[in-house]
């Protein structure tokens, strides 16, 4: 250790003289790093280079989502608990969960002076839904009348009544539709956007709590600089001067910056630091459940895992997994054992579903159920769980399969895929012949969002091809309720069906594990694991 330091010191000395000799000739094109405004109040945080131009309807990943959410204000926003609060909307009303009337606040403006009116929303949604625009979030408009994903067709369900009023007609009742309106797909766009959408995505103009610091605020692969938007009057008004979102390809680098004092807020502590982040950060560490559900899917087509026999085996597998132990030992407490198919941060979540005992560790019961299934048809072969080895999954997959080996006495192993996209391709083509890891991060804080896209017959992310008419009917019933509590009751009942059928084996909820520097305070994380940046104050 000592020798190495001397070695580095020697190089440093030689290097310093070399620099002086060379006259720093290579430093000519270094741009100035100072930014205008009150720079002491700029909060820096981690991010990643957006994968698409910053158009709200085409921003589907977290890197761009974080920026878009800061730049735009939708009809509603979600508070710390995930409850919707009117942002641009004055009121959103419906008597039948199918026809909605939206009134927006008057006098609001985009940062370029364009008014925020009913057309700003309607035109933006039309743009986002149009097939030939190929927007990643187009499926969010699928419930609005007129939507088509096979031909260009306007959303006939959207009608502008006057400058501050428009109506939405859905093709079927959707009680949680108002809850979805805080998602980025539903943000408004200024008129100037449509002339050149690509240029707009490079330098977006919004109506939210922040705006781009300059025309060149987005330095690709480096960072994006945002300043507070003084004209924003909603509930998310910034309590700091601005945001500097630094793009990291490697979370370890972000963590070093946090420790080194170069970064104020970090929303993803790398796995490699789970063992020591609490000692490093003390009370500046954050670890709380997030709206991320993790599981592994057992497709119905696998031998011995369908029908009555399959139900018994699935329950046995679930009971043979010691979730408490795995979350504690492998994840250092940064996961919370699952007790349903959604997430504790969602309104309507409960840990007392009927049949949730199947998610408790009970090796004796597991053995019994497995033996019962063997009477129907004896088990053969090995049970495998497919996973992508570029996502840090090997540890828990090994632990889970070890548990199955020990508690069920069967051969169980992980089946690694080199990358996520290879796994996805096999899932999508239905060529995967094993169970496989699965997960869901909610788009908006509603139980429905955890259930419909994953388990409804024919749904987009239903890679296990689960289908149960009773479950579908309950989801449909819940969607047509006008009362949120009544709807949540239906979703509870639907989940109780899932607990019997176990199309996926719930494992745990991911926690958001983050931290902040001593320079900032009032760091709170929202329901979607993104810090509420507008609340952060800098000393």
């Amino acid at each position: 250790m000592k020798i190495r330091r001397i070695g580095i010191g020697a190089i440093a000395l030689a290097a310093a003289s070399a620099l002086v000799l060379s006259g720093c000739a290579t430093g000519g094109d270094t741009p100035s790093t100072s930014s205008s405004g009150d720079s002491s109040a700029i909060v820096s945080t981690n991010g990643s280079e957006p994968q698409n131009p910053l158009i709200p309807t085409n921003t589907t990943e977290t890197g761009g989502g974080k920026i878009v959410d800061a730049l735009f204000a939708g009809l509603v926003y979600y508070d710390e608990k995930g409850a919707p609060v009117n942002d641009v909307a004055e009121s959103i009303e419906s008597t039948d969960a199918q026809n909605y009337t939206v009134k927006i606040k008057s006098g609001l403006k985009f940062t370029n002076g364009d008014p925020v009116d009913a057309a700003s929303f309607v035109d933006a949604w039309q743009y986002g839904a149009l097939l030939s625009n190929a927007q990643g979030s187009s499926y969010f408009f699928a419930d609005i009348e007129g939507y088509s994903d096979s031909a260009d067709s306007p959303l006939t369900g959207l009608v502008v009544v006057d400058d501050t009023t428009f109506t939405i007609k859905l093709s079927t009742p959707q009680s949680d539709f108002p809850l979805r309106l805080g998602y980025s797909a539903f943000y408004p766009l200024p008129k100037s956007a449509y002339a050149d959408m690509k240029a707009f995505g490079e330098n977006p103009i919004g109506n939210g709590p922040y705006k781009f610091a300059s025309d060149t605020a987005w330095q690709h692969n480096v960072q994006v600089d945002l300043v507070a938007n003084p004209d924003y009057t909603g509930g998310r008004a910034a309590k700091n001067g601005g945001l500097k979102i630094v793009f990291y390809a490697n979370q370890d680098a972000a963590y070093s910056d946090l420790l080194g004092g170069n970064l104020d807020v970090l929303d993803a502590i790398p796995d490699s630091q789970f063992a020591n982040y609490k000692t490093d950060l003390g009370d500046r560490a954050v670890n709380q459940p997030a709206a991320i559900f993790q599981s592994f899917t057992i497709p119905n087509r696998l031998a011995h895992l369908g029908g009555k026999e399959g139900q018994l085996r699935r329950a046995a597998i679930s009971m043979a997994i010691d979730r408490e132990e795995i979350t504690k030992v492998i994840f250092e407490g940064t996961r919370t054992p699952a007790s349903d198919f959604t997430s504790p941060v969602i309104d309507g979540w409960t840990d007392s579903l009927k049949g949730a005992d199947v998610l408790k560790f009970d090796p004796d019961e597991a053995k019994k159920l497995w033996a019962e299934a063997d009477k129907i048809s004896p088990w053969e072969g090995s049970f495998q769980i497919g996973y992508n080895s570029d996502g840090g999954h090997a540890g828990w997959v090994d632990a889970v399969t070890q548990g199955l080996k020990n508690n069920l006495g069967i051969d169980a192993t992980g089946a690694p895929y080199p990358t996520f996209k290879e796994l996805l391709t096999d899932e999508d083509n239905r060529t995967i012949q094993t169970a496989f890891r699965s997960g869901w991060q909610a788009d908006y804080p509603g139980l429905f969002n955890f259930l419909s896209p994953l388990y409804q017959t024919g749904a987009g992310s239903n890679y296990g091809d689960y289908s149960n008419p009773d479950f579908d009917a309950l989801l449909k019933k819940g969607a047509s309720e006008t009362d949120a509590d009544a709807a949540n009751k239906d979703y509870e009942a639907a989940q109780e069906i899932l607990l019997t059928d176990l199309p996926v084996i719930p494992l745990w909820y991911s926690n958001v594990v983050g931290g902040h520097s001593e320079q900032v305070s009032n760091v709170k994380f929202g329901w979607n694991s993104v810090p509420l940046y507008y609340e952060v104050t800098k000393k």
Partner: protein, 309 residues
């Protein structure tokens, strides 16, 4: 001389086509659907996926994709990345950063390596030589990410002498620490190369002759010994410059340098054919240029290998 350079440039043409074709094929053959991967756990509507496939020509057979790409190159269009940025822009943004980092590292390792190697060689078996050998052995045996993490933690976090990661615009002062880390391993190699070369040259007849003619050490060491010992070192430096340009991925990741390695890594992960191929092609061309320059340098060091034609 010009004829020689001309021939070398001509040689670059088949190399260019060969590499672009091979690399494009490798990216194409990578399993998995890059469009699906763009959306993570979410599944966009099949129509959107189809649209994106068409947009990036992913629905075409390999050879068509390749010729669309090559055709674009001759029109000065390197294609666009999945994020909609022209690949040419990405190249223009990242290469200067990595080249700056590589030159800085090269400077550190050359100056320090040759200096230490020369002294070691002249004082064979003395304390300085022994400690230089030990230090270089330690540096060679440590993986670069260990050196990078330790340097980042000690100098960035604990002592606060340097920024932990590289800031916007990648200013020189931020690049010093990653450059030192990059230089450390090659430094050790150069010390050893120079040392053995110097020892060998010192024992040759012409050096003894020079001494017996009564020339001063001040003249013999730089002109007679060092100059004749540098040829293997220069060859090593040329390959090392290539390695620095390409192989800085790990170091760039740890110090968050917005350079070639970092960007290329992500493009590979995402399966972005045009980005990967353009980057690798530029690297290959750079490598060819560097090798040409080195071959010409040989002539300066040793007139016997000058190119006369």
């Amino acid at each position: 001389m010009t004829g020689y350079i001309f021939r070398r440039v001509l040689q670059a043409i088949p190399v260019f086509f060969g590499t672009t074709f091979l690399i494009y094929f490798m990216v194409f053959a990578m399993p998995g659907d890059p469009v699906l991967a763009l959306f993570g756990d979410k599944t966009p509507s099949p129509a959107v996926i189809e649209q994106l496939r068409q947009q990036y020509h992913l629905d075409q057979p390999f050879i068509v994709q390749y010729f669309i790409y090559i055709g674009g190159i001759f029109r000065g269009d390197l294609g666009v990345s999945f994020s909609g940025q022209p690949v040419a822009d990405i190249l223009a943004r990242t290469f200067p950063v990595t080249i700056r980092l590589a030159i800085l590292a090269l400077l550190f390792e050359t100056v320090a390596g040759i200096l230490v190697g020369l002294i070691s060689g002249l004082r064979k078996g003395k304390l300085f030589d022994a400690s230089a050998l030990t230090i270089s052995l330690i540096l060679i045996s440590l993986p670069i990410f260990v050196i990078a993490f330790v340097a980042q933690f000690v100098f960035g976090v604990q002592l606060g002498w340097a920024r932990t990661t590289v800031g916007p615009g990648a200013p020189i002062q931020d690049l010093v620490l990653p450059a030192l880390v990059l230089a450390s391993i090659s430094f050790a190699q150069i010390v050893r190369l120079t040392r053995s070369s110097v020892i060998e040259t010192s024992g040759l007849d012409f050096v003894r002759t020079a001494y017996s003619k009564g020339l001063s050490r001040k003249r013999i060491i730089p002109v007679h010994i060092l100059r004749n010992s540098l040829i293997p070192v220069i060859t090593y430096l040329a390959t090392d410059f290539g390695v620095l340009l390409v192989g800085a991925t790990v170091t760039e990741g740890i110090f968050n340098v917005p350079g070639v390695g970092n960007t290329l890594y992500q493009a590979i992960i995402r399966g972005e054919g045009p980005t990967v191929v353009s980057f690798v092609t530029v690297m290959v061309l750079l490598y060819l240029v560097v090798n040409l320059v080195v071959d010409l340098l040989y002539g300066l060091l040793d007139p016997r290998i000058r190119f006369v034609k």
